[in-house]
Structures are given as structure tokens and as C-alpha cells.
């Protein structure tokens, strides 16, 4: 898949933002007033920034409101609803903390739940796609959630949780990679089933339908990433979890924590880039590409 920067940015930052909101909703850290404002500011910056970035990917962002209509069937629509609910509840909840020094616990729990749900719905947009076997796995939501919560823990200063969640995120990520590597083959979709010609012999793509490129090839037949995938995998795990954990081990320092966050986000961006770049859409088969 073509790794569109807007979508990479969106999934990573909304994950970070909603992860932080989750922790804030659960009352970690238990801050109020200006400190709370700072935390909420960061969370909203990431979550809303991510969401806004996702609209860059749209052909017609001015019609984005229409995306709320199909919550009964569409994960993208559900994501929209969850995000709005999460952001609104958390806004109220945050207002309580910032302006009234009040912690409306139930509101926080609801906000946290919808934040988690938002990340889950985001992940389901990808998970549901049978056409991309690498994503079509229960581990995909676990990966998205563990990343989001780890970032939340990291940003909310929940060091032990952060370390545990970073380890979980790494483990999920590595399993997802390993599982993903064989997923296309396991999906059973091949050029033989794609053309129905399998029973006649070995099928090979001959001339493409046109010598130029097209939307499908640009969007789905991205092959640049795969050569470097092992390297990127290592870099991303090191950045996403390794370095942050290392920085969390010594006594807390704002500077180290900031570095840990920065490293984590960089790692998450790298792994998300790979998430797209490595993903192979079955349509590539028709073009003799994957």
C-alpha cells in the first residue's frame, strides 16, 4: 500500500492523543488547573491534529460530515462518532479539571472508554480488509491499542505502565510482523484464484492493461518499502520501545521523558510507515505485482 504521510501521521498521532486522553480520563496523572490544561492541550493537539491530518487524505474534506451517517456498518463512520464523543466528553471532563478543579469521574471513564474505542475503531478500518491479508488479523487492533496506550502511559508519566505497555506493544508488533509475513500466502488468494485460471496451469501476468500507471497501482502496488523492511523493523522497535524504556529506567527526568516520547513517536511513525508500505493488497496480483 502507498504509505500516505497524512494517514501515517493520523494513525500515530490520534493514537498518541487518545492514549493520553484515556489515561487522563482514568485520572492519571491526577492533575488539575494549568497542569491539567497542559496535559489536555497536548492530548488534543495530537488527537485533533491527527484527525485533521486524516482529512488531508480525503478528496472532498468539505463533505467530511457525511462520514457520520453510516455508523451501522462502517468502521470509519464509527471512528468518527467515537472520536467526537471521546473529544466532547473529555472536553467537558477536562474543563472540570482545568477550570473548576473538579474531577467528574464518570465523565472521565466514559471519555476514556470512547478514547480506547476510537483507537479500536481506527484499527478496525484496517483489520476488516480481507483484501490486505497482513492487516486482516486480530493482532492489528491489539497492536494499535497497545501503541496508543503505551504512548498514553508515556505521556501521562505512568512509568511502570509505560514500560509494561511498551513491552506489550513490541511483542504484539513483532508477532504481527511475523504473522503478517505469511498472511498473504495463508489467505489463499493467488493469481490462480484471482483469474480462475489456476486449474489450467501456472498463471503468470503478461501484459498489463495499459503501459502507464493508474490509481490502483499508485495506491496499492507500492513495493519500495519491502526491501528495507528488516532494517526499518529493527529501527522502529528500538525507537518505539527500546530507547524509551532505557530512558525511563533511570530516575525521572523531564528531559529524558521528553526524549523517550520523541523516540517513541519516531519509532511509531517508522513502524506505521512500514505497516502501510509492507501491506500487500490482493489487487496487485492482477498486475503481477504485490
Amino acid at each position: 500500500m502507498h504509505p500516505a504521510p497524512s494517514v501515517i501521521f493520523f494513525t500515530v498521532f490520534s493514537g498518541v492523543g487518545f492514549g493520553l486522553l484515556t489515561f487522563l480520563g482514568l485520572g492519571y496523572p491526577g492533575v488539575t488547573g494549568f497542569t491539567a490544561f497542559a496535559f489536555f492541550f497536548i492530548a488534543y493537539l495530537a488527537a485533533v491534529g491527527g484527525l485533521i491530518s486524516s482529512t488531508f487524505h480525503l478528496g472532498h474534506p468539505e463533505r467530511a460530515l457525511k462520514a457520520f451517517t453510516q455508523w451501522r456498518s462502517s468502521w470509519l463512520s464509527r471512528e468518527g462518532w467515537c472520536a467526537v464523543i471521546a473529544l466532547l466528553t473529555m472536553a467537558l471532563y477536562g474543563a472540570g479539571l482545568v477550570f473548576f478543579d473538579q474531577r467528574w469521574e464518570l465523565l472521565g471513564l466514559i471519555g476514556a472508554a470512547f478514547s480506547v474505542l476510537t483507537v479500536f475503531t481506527t484499527s478496525m478500518i484496517y483489520t476488516q480488509l480481507k483484501t490486505i491479508p497482513r492487516w486482516n488479523s486480530p493482532l492489528t487492533p491489539v497492536m494499535f491499542l497497545s501503541y496508543s496506550l503505551a504512548a498514553g502511559a508515556l505521556l501521562s508519566g505512568q512509568e511502570p505502565w509505560a514500560i509494561i505497555l511498551l513491552l506489550i506493544a513490541s511483542a504484539t508488533q513483532i508477532s504481527l510482523w511475523m504473522q503478517g509475513d505469511g498472511a498473504f500466502a495463508r489467505s489463499g488468494t493467488t493469481l490462480a484464484t484471482a483469474t480462475g485460471l489456476g486449474p489450467r496451469g501456472d498463471v503468470r501476468a503478461f501484459e498489463p492493461p495499459h503501459t502507464g500507471t493508474n490509481y490502483l497501482l499508485k495506491e496499492f502496488a507500492f513495493t519500495v518499502g519491502r526491501k528495507h523492511s528488516q532494517k526499518v523493523r529493527i529501527i522502529s522497535i528500538v525507537l518505539m520501545a527500546g530507547i524509551p524504556i532505557l530512558f525511563l529506567l533511570p530516575p525521572f527526568s523531564h528531559f529524558l521523558a521528553a526524549l523517550a516520547v520523541a523516540s517513541h513517536v519516531a519509532g511509531a511513525l517508522a513502524s506505521r510507515w512500514l505497516f502501510f508500505a509492507e501491506a500487500e493488497h490482493v489487487v496487485g496480483l492482477y498486475y503481477g505485482k504485490r
Partner: protein
């Protein structure tokens, strides 16, 4: 569910105008939908005899053709050096004046100094009339480099050819065998036919080194070694004759198989057919055992007869055939290795042909009467049909190969019979009913007759008094005595060499001669731009008419910009290449369904004006005024002979409108337009098979004006005119070939088909691989690339290599290879193809473009990755060491041997561009990159 409400019946267009497609010689009927006067959508015309509603990709993309940014906008005068592409726009008055100033003195002094050659012209009867009236012998269209082998072999053998002049009996055939066809001129009908017979479960066999397109859907694919079809076909003939699986009745009645061949070695008629005093071929009548003219009422021609007279045996053609084809020379076992098909497979194919022709034979319950007056109760069907095109034609042995195929058809009795191959009017028509070539030049006067035609012996050659060729292309000379279509591919090189003479002005129309239509492309560019010592161009003046900014435009001095096909009148006439079907005569027109938005004029209309300006008799009234205001005026008012005009429909008879013969009708074009742009007249039931011998057909054809009197004839298994040339080479007669050509003429002009291998002349020892081109179905030669839709389908062309050659050369898809022929070298990207003869490589034809042409960006893939094989092909064969340079052409017809190209392949370093990469030419129309959002009706 709240689905949006859709308008399910939107208005399709304001108006539909019906005319004829132009993107290939198939000439389908089209419905042009207009919105606010602009072309909105083009679809096939369901009522049209050719395409019955279907339309190919090119036809549907016509809208992008008439709106292409590459369209020329106004007449152009060259201002930079030739080949640079630097022009200035001038007025039509100035353009016509320049042309007249150049041509007038030529006509006065020596009309042969004008060479007027047209490309795939659909108005040849008109352009040839112009050239004839001008008085130059140097006129032809593209047939010589295209498929004259096919056309000439068909006409000499059976009075009609495949090409678009005949078709399988799609309704009845059960085995259809296709030789060397990728697309053809009859493209939509062939596709419709294949679809139709496959739906019926008939078998399609494709004989082709490459398995794409028709050959891909063929039930059986025969991946033959290029250039060996003749041998393969004669091996089938061997098997069938040996098994007696031939139609004796048919052979005896309708062919020259029973005709007697003069066996007197000492006679100057040795090898000619015995004739009576009326010139009629003689046969032995089985009833009487006596000699009789072939067409005598009640005669039963004896195929096996020998006529002994004065101690000499004269044997039938059939005997000569038996003697030749039954030998082991043609046994499957002998030919298998050469043709690349196992002996067993050859036998199986022959067996299947025999089975279908004879076991699945059927009869149509239709009475008919033959030319001998004998009435047949039924029509005997032979449901085996064949079709072939350039794959067998564009070789130096193509004429004989095409002949071999016709002989195969004829011995099966499958021509003009139900289930077999059928002619489309005005065919069948024996070679003798065609004109002979004319070449007598008289200053300031027309030529003595039509330029092109059919020679029947040395007397018909186009030679000057001194025996040198009369024509610049050396057509109808001893080098290629039966070159019925001329040799367009030799014009530029002969004019450059001044051999046989120098010319002054080269006038060309729609032929991209500096690029994809020439052999030796680089050489041709040099010939067009080379100067003599005194600084003049070796070919002094070049006038060219094109509609688009093609590669050739840059090499002309004066450009006469043509309209596009939707902006002009055209005439698809029974006088040249009409749109007939086996069951009907039909012709068609084009008419301006839109007006040009540029300062361009229909070329034929320009010729009407120029002709008058030059005072050409055919284009001038007695008072010296212009005879035809424009082409439309010509189409309506011109008469070839009284009652016969360019169009056969809606002529003026004594009692009102009539078809076929009739006087001029001023409203004729309106009638055509009302009828959808075409005219059809069906052949009556019972007259529609056995046409060459069927009196009902012959009478109908005379009524339609196709001939002046019935022309029944015998199919020529044995082509006598060829023997006349052999006789000359053997020393008979006063017109004698030059000595260096004697042996070749003796060998090549064999009156019974034979096969010879063109490969050694092309140094196949050193260059063992054959390199071929195929036409993509969605592109027409070079013009497709300017079409925004079509160029996305074929924007560049890889060289396809068989798996074996990929492995041998350590190549993978996307690698580059250097391809070397005895003449040149190109470096191009390669792709693997498994369904390909293992010693053959190929690419799509004419995709590669010169930078700067066709209003494309200079970095267009057509120019950077696309390439032409033409750089590797030379109009002459590699030197043989005899001090002579022989033409890379068929020695009989002069047909360019495109497909004899032999190459060597080796892996090359990756390139940024295909090689050779030539510098860009300046675009006379600018470039128009950018996005296209085309919607006429909003």
C-alpha cells in the same frame, strides 16, 4: 433504504450523425453523437454492413482523434533546415501558388519528375486519376510495402484475395485456419466472425509464431518458424493429395487443374497452357477423349489426361502438381524441423482439414447454373475456411507462400462455396479483367492509362525504350515483374540515388515515411536531408499532406494540412476498396459532421483546386475553369465511364433513382446521409456462392456495373503469366531480362507454388533469431499515440522474448538488450513471453515516436522507452559478395520483406532511453501537456 433518485433516462445527445470511421481500412459505420455541435460520443452503427454496431477501441476513441492537440492548423512553409521542424504558417493561396509554381514546369517538360505517392489512402481511384492526368508514371499507394503479395497472389490465382476482399463463410464454416494475422484490415468483421463461429463450436486454428489476440483465442495454436509457412502448407497439400482428400469435381470444373500444359521443350510456348484459336484454355473431355475448350457446354474436363501430339506429351496441371507435391520433399517428416512443427502434428492438422472438408461436408438446397450452362441442384459446402495476411505476405517468399495457401484452399474445393472462403464484390474478378500498368509519358499531357495493374508477361512491363525501368520505384521491372501495387518503400532511396533517374518533386499524402513506414529509418532521414555539392537538397522538393504533426512533417518543404475524418467528404468506392460483404455490394461516404476549427482543407478538395490551377484535363472544364468545386462535387459528378461513378447508390436512371449503373444525381450525397452514410445492394439468393462461375452472379455484377460483360474464368492453380517471365529468362522473346536477374526469375517465377528460404540472404547463420512486429488492436500505426486514451494502453513497447532466449541471455523482465541485425543495432527493454516461437522475438508496431512529434512531451514514454524495429531493417539485403545489392523484397511483386528481419540478442546495461535516441524535432503545433477533463455536455 433511501437510495438516491437517479435520472435513468438522461438525454444522450442533441443529434446523431452517421458517417464512416477512418482509423483503419475496415471502415465501420459510426453514429456520432453531438451535443451543442460538438462530438460527444461515438458508437457503432447497427445497420452498417461492416460492423453491425460494434466498434473497436480506435473507433470509440475517435473523439480524442478529432480533438488531438497535434492537429495541423494551417498550411506550412519550411523556414529551417529540412528535418528541423521549423515552419511558418502561410495562407492557402500562397501554399497552392507554391505548389503550382513547382509542378507546372515539371508537367511541361517532363512529368516523370514528379513522384506522387500516397499512404493508406482511401481515395486511390481519385488520387490516381489526378496523377494520371498530370502525366507522371510515378504514382502508387502503400500496397507495395504492405501486402501486395497477398493481393496479387490472390488475384492471379483465384481472382480475389483475402485482405478485405473476401471473408470466410462465417455462417457455415466449421474449421477456420488463420495464417499470420494479428489484426488485419477487416478487423471488426474478423472478430465478429471468430466470436460467431466459436459460439457454434467451430474450431479455430492459428498459425503464428506469436500467440496473442486471434491466435490466443484459437483452439489450436501452431507456433510456426517465421518464413516457413509455404513449406508447411505444401506439406498439407502433400498429405491431402496423397490421401486423395481433394475435391475432384471442383478441380475439374472450376480450376485450370485439367488444363493442358505445353510439354514441348523446344517451343517458345513451353510450359504455357494449350489454347484454341479463340485463346481459350484446352482440356480433354472425358466424354469424348478429345480436346475441348474449357468452357464448352457439357464438357467434362479430365484431370488425369495426357494429350499426345507430334510425339510430345502435354500433361494437365494436375499431373504437374502430383509430380511436384507427392514427392518426399514435402513429406511432413522432411519439413518438420524446418517449419518447427512435428511431423505428427502436421499430419494431424491435415487429417482434421480432410475430416471437416469431406466428412462434415453439407449441401445447401439451392439451385444454380454455371457458365457452361449446367444447372446444379444444390450447392456443395466445404466447411473449411482460411484467412491470412502479412505474416505470410511480408516475406521475400510471400507471393509463393500466399499462392500455396490458395492452392490448398482450391484443392479442397473450399473457395466460393458454402462454409469456405467467399469473395466480396467487386471480386471475384480475374487478373485479366484488371488494367495493365501504363507508363507512357508525354510532356504536358496525361499518362496513357492507369499506372497500376496486372502484368501477364514481359510485354506488360513498365520499361522505357532502352529497357530501363520507367517508374522511379522500378515497379513492373525485371526486378519485380508483378509488382501490382508499386513499391512505395523504394521511392525515396531510388530518388536519392537517382536510379533509374532523378526527380524534382516528391509529393506525398498520409505516409509517415521518415519514421514507421520506412525501412532503414535513419538512412531515409539522411536521404531526405542530404544536399548536393551545390547546396541543393538531393531530393529537391517535398510536398506533404498530413492531418497531424507526424515525424514526416518535419521533412517536407510545404505542408498541406488535411482535415480530420469527421470534417470532410470521402468516398469509399466500388472503384477501389469498398465496404462490400460476401452477400452484398456496398459503398459509403464520409461527410463533414463537424466543421474544422482551423485553417485546414480536405486533401482531395485541394487536389481538385490544384488540378485546375495546373490545367489538368480531368480537373478542368473546356473553358479552363475548375471542374470540381471540391471532393464532394467530384464524388457526385465524376463518371468513370457513362453511368459509372464513384458511388453506386442512388444514381439517376431513366425512370428515377437506381443503383449500380445510372447517371449523376445531384442529391446523391443527401441520400447517403439519410441512409446512414452507406449503400448496400444484396446479391440475390442463389447468386451468392460460386460467383466466378455462377451466371446469376455474373449477370447481377454486370447490372451493378462491376463489369461490362460476364467474366467467368478458371482458378489458376498454375499461373501462366509467371511462366511467360520464366520463358523470357530462358531466352525466349525480345524483351529480355538483364543477365544478373535471369537465374532468379527462372527460379522465383515458378508457375506452381514452391518454397524457398529467405533466411540465408539475411545472414541467418550469424543472426539466427527472427524479429517481428504486430499491430496492436487498439492503435493504428503511428496515429494512436496522439490519442489521450489510446496512448495509455500502449505508451511504450517492450521487446518480447521467448523463455528460452531470456534464460540463455540471463535476462529478466525489465532488463535491456542489444538487438543487432546485419544492418543496425537498437537497445531496448525486454519482457518474457512463453507463448512464443522459441527463436522469435517481437514488439508492437509503430509505438516508438520521435521526440517532438505528435504534440507529445519530449519525455513521453513513446519517445524515451518506445522504439522501432525499422532501424534494423534495410530496403536492401546485406551484400552477398556478388557486387550487387539486392532488394529486401519479394522478387515477384516487390513486396517489402519486413518479416525476414534476422537479429542477434545480447544483454545490455540498463539504459535511461531506448537506443538509438534521436534529437527532438521542433513541433509545428506546440505541445499540450496537462490534464484533460473532457465533457461536452455539462
Amino acid at each position: 433504504m433511501n437510495q438516491p433518485k437517479l435520472d435513468l433516462s438522461p438525454k444522450v445527445s442533441d443529434e446523431v450523425r452517421k458517417t464512416t470511421c477512418y482509423m483503419c481500412a475496415c471502415r465501420c459505420g459510426i453514429n456520432v453523437h453531438l451535443k451543442s455541435g460538438k462530438v460527444a460520443y461515438i458508437e457503432g452503427n447497427r445497420d452498417h454492413p461492416v460492423n453491425k454496431g460494434v466498434l473497436c477501441a480506435k473507433g470509440s476513441a475517435g473523439i480524442m482523434q478529432v480533438n488531438a492537440p497535434s492537429r495541423l492548423k494551417a498550411p506550412l512553409k519550411r523556414v529551417g533546415p529540412r528535418g528541423s521542424g521549423a515552419f511558418e504558417e502561410i495562407s492557402w493561396d500562397e501554399a497552392l501558388q507554391i505548389a503550382a509554381d513547382w509542378l507546372e514546369p515539371i508537367r511541361k517538360d517532363n512529368p516523370e519528375k514528379l513522384a506522387f505517392f500516397t499512404g493508406r489512402d482511401q481515395s486511390q481511384s481519385f488520387t490516381s486519376l489526378w496523377a494520371q492526368s498530370f502525366g507522371t508514371p510515378n504514382y502508387a499507394a502503400h500496397g507495395g510495402f504492405c501486402s501486395v503479395n497477398m493481393a496479387a497472389a490472390g488475384i492471379y490465382t483465384m481472382g480475389g484475395a483475402f485482405w478485405e476482399f473476401g471473408q470466410p463463410d462465417w455462417d457455415h464454416t466449421k474449421l477456420f485456419m488463420l495464417f499470420g494475422v494479428a489484426e488485419d484490415h477487416d478487423s471488426n468483421p474478423i472478430k465478429m466472425g471468430i466470436g460467431k463461429i466459436k459460439a457454434r463450436g467451430a474450431r479455430v486454428v492459428g498459425v503464428n509464431p506469436i500467440r496473442t489476440g486471434y491466435n490466443a483465442v484459437a483452439d489450436d495454436w501452431v507456433g510456426i518458424t517465421p518464413g516457413t509457412d509455404g513449406l508447411f502448407i505444401l506439406s498439407l497439400v502433400h498429405c491431402l493429395m496423397k490421401a486423395g482428400k481433394i475435391d475432384l469435381n471442383y478441380l475439374a470444373q472450376f480450376t485450370n487443374a485439367p488444363c493442358l500444359v505445353n510439354g514441348d521443350e523446344k517451343s517458345s510456348d513451353f510450359g504455357l497452357l494449350l489454347r484454341d484459336d479463340d485463346g481459350k484454355e484446352l482440356v480433354i473431355d472425358r466424354a469424348t477423349g478429345k480436346l475441348a475448350p474449357f468452357d464448352q457446354k457439357g464438357v467434362k474436363p479430365d484431370l488425369a489426361a495426357t494429350h499426345r501430339h507430334a510425339g510430345i506429351s502435354h500433361r494437365t496441371v494436375m499431373q504437374h502438381m502430383a509430380e511436384r507435391y507427392l514427392t518426399d520433399e514435402y513429406a511432413p517428416e522432411t519439413v518438420a524441423e524446418k517449419v518447427g512443427i512435428s511431423a505428427k502434428r502436421i499430419r494431424t492438422l491435415a487429417g482434421e482439414i480432410a475430416r471437416v472438408a469431406f466428412d462434415e461436408a453439407f449441401e445447401l438446397d439451392q439451385e444454380w447454373t454455371d457458365f457452361r450452362g449446367e444447372t446444379h441442384k444444390t450447392m456443395q459446402g466445404r466447411p473449411v475456411s482460411f484467412h491470412a495476411m502479412r505474416g505470410i505476405s511480408a516475406h521475400a517468399n510471400g507471393f509463393q507462400t500466399c499462392r500455396a495457401l490458395h492452392v490448398l484452399q482450391i484443392i479442397l474445393g473450399s473457395v466460393e462455396v458454402p462454409g469456405g472462403f467467399r469473395f466480396k464484390p467487386p471480386y471475384p474478378k480475374p487478373a485479366t479483367a484488371h488494367p495493365k500498368p501504363h507508363c507512357k509519358v508525354t510532356p504536358d499531357s496525361p499518362l496513357d492509362g492507369p499506372h497500376l495493374g496486372f502484368t501477364h508477361g514481359p510485354d506488360d512491363l513498365a520499361l522505357k525504350e532502352d529497357g530501363t525501368p520507367a517508374r522511379i520505384d522500378k515497379a513492373f521491372s525485371w526486378e519485380n515483374p508483378m509488382s501490382s501495387h508499386g513499391l512505395m518503400h523504394m521511392v525515396i532511396s531510388n530518388a536519392y540515388a537517382g536510379d533509374p533517374y532523378k526527380i524534382d518533386t516528391l509529393f506525398m499524402y498520409m505516409a509517415n515515411m521518415s519514421w514507421n513506414s520506412s525501412m532503414n529509418t535513419g538512412g531515409v532521414m539522411k536521404m531526405l536531408t542530404d544536399k548536393t555539392e551545390d547546396g541543393e537538397y538531393v531530393i529537391p522538393r517535398i510536398i506533404y499532406s498530413d492531418a497531424y504533426s507526424s515525424e514526416m512533417v518535419a521533412y517536407a518543404d510545404l505542408i498541406l494540412p488535411d482535415t480530420t475524418y469527421l470534417e470532410r467528404h470521402d468516398c469509399i468506392s466500388l472503384l477501389d476498396r469498398p465496404i462490400c460483404e460476401a452477400d452484398a455490394a456496398a459503398d459509403a461516404i464520409r461527410w463533414p459532421v463537424i466543421e474544422p476549427d482551423r485553417d485546414v482543407r480536405g486533401f482531395q478538395s485541394v487536389l481538385c483546386e490544384l488540378g485546375a490551377k495546373l490545367g489538368l484535363p480531368a480537373f478542368t472544364n473546356d473553358d479552363g475553369s475548375q471542374k470540381y468545386a471540391d471532393y464532394a462535387d467530384y464524388i457526385v459528378n465524376h463518371e468513370r465511364k457513362p453511368g459509372i461513378g464513384p458511388l453506386a447508390g442512388w444514381r439517376m436512371g431513366e425512370k428515377g433513382l437506381t443503383n449500380g449503373r445510372g447517371g449523376v444525381n445531384e442529391g446523391q450525397l443527401d441520400s447517403y446521409i439519410k441512409n446512414g452514410g452507406f449503400f448496400v445492394e444484396h446479391i440475390p439468393e442463389g447468386a451468392n456462392y460460386y460467383k466466378p462461375w455462377n451466371v446469376d452472379y455474373q449477370d447481377w455484377a454486370v447490372g451493378m456495373g462491376l463489369f461490362d460483360s460476364p467474366q467467368p474464368y478458371l482458378f489458376s492453380l498454375y499461373v501462366e503469366p509467371m511462366r511467360r517471365f520464366q520463358l523470357a529468362a530462358e531466352g525466349h522473346g525480345d524483351r529480355q531480362p538483364p543477365d544478373h536477374l535471369r537465374d532468379r526469375i527462372k527460379h522465383a517465377m515458378d508457375p506452381l507454388p514452391m518454397w524457398y528460404d529467405p533466411a540465408p540472404d539475411n545472414k541467418s547463420e550469424e543472426y539466427p533469431i527472427t524479429a517481428l512486429t504486430q499491430r496492436p488492436m487498439a492503435m493504428y500505426h503511428s496515429w494512436g499515440s496522439q490519442n489521450a486514451w489510446l496512448r495509455q494502453l500502449h505508451g511504450h513497447n517492450p521487446l518480447y522474448l521467448p523463455t528460452k532466449l531470456m534464460r540463455e541471455n540471463d535476462l529478466v523482465d525489465g532488463d535491456w538488450a542489444r538487438v543487432t541485425s546485419p544492418h543496425g543495432e537498437i537497445t531496448v527493454p525486454v519482457l518474457e513471453m512463453a507463448a512464443l516461437n522459441e527463436n522469435t522475438v517481437w514488439t508492437w508496431n509503430a509505438i516508438g515516436k520521435r521526440k517532438g512529434a505528435w504534440a507529445l512531451d519530449e519525455n513521453a514514454p513513446e519517445a524515451t522507452k518506445g522504439f522501432l524495429l525499422n532501424h534494423l531493417i534495410h530496403e536492401l539485403l546485406p551484400p552477398k559478395g556478388d557486387g550487387l545489392r539486392w532488394a529486401n523484397s519479394d522478387p515477384i511483386t516487390g513486396q517489402a520483406a519486413w518479416f525476414d528481419l534476422k537479429v542477434r540478442i545480447e544483454k545490455a546495461d540498463p539504459q535511461s532511453e531506448s537506443q538509438p535516441s534521436l534529437p527532438p524535432i521542433e513541433s509545428p503545433v506546440g505541445n499540450d501537456p496537462g490534464d484533460l477533463v473532457w465533457k461536452v455536455g455539462k
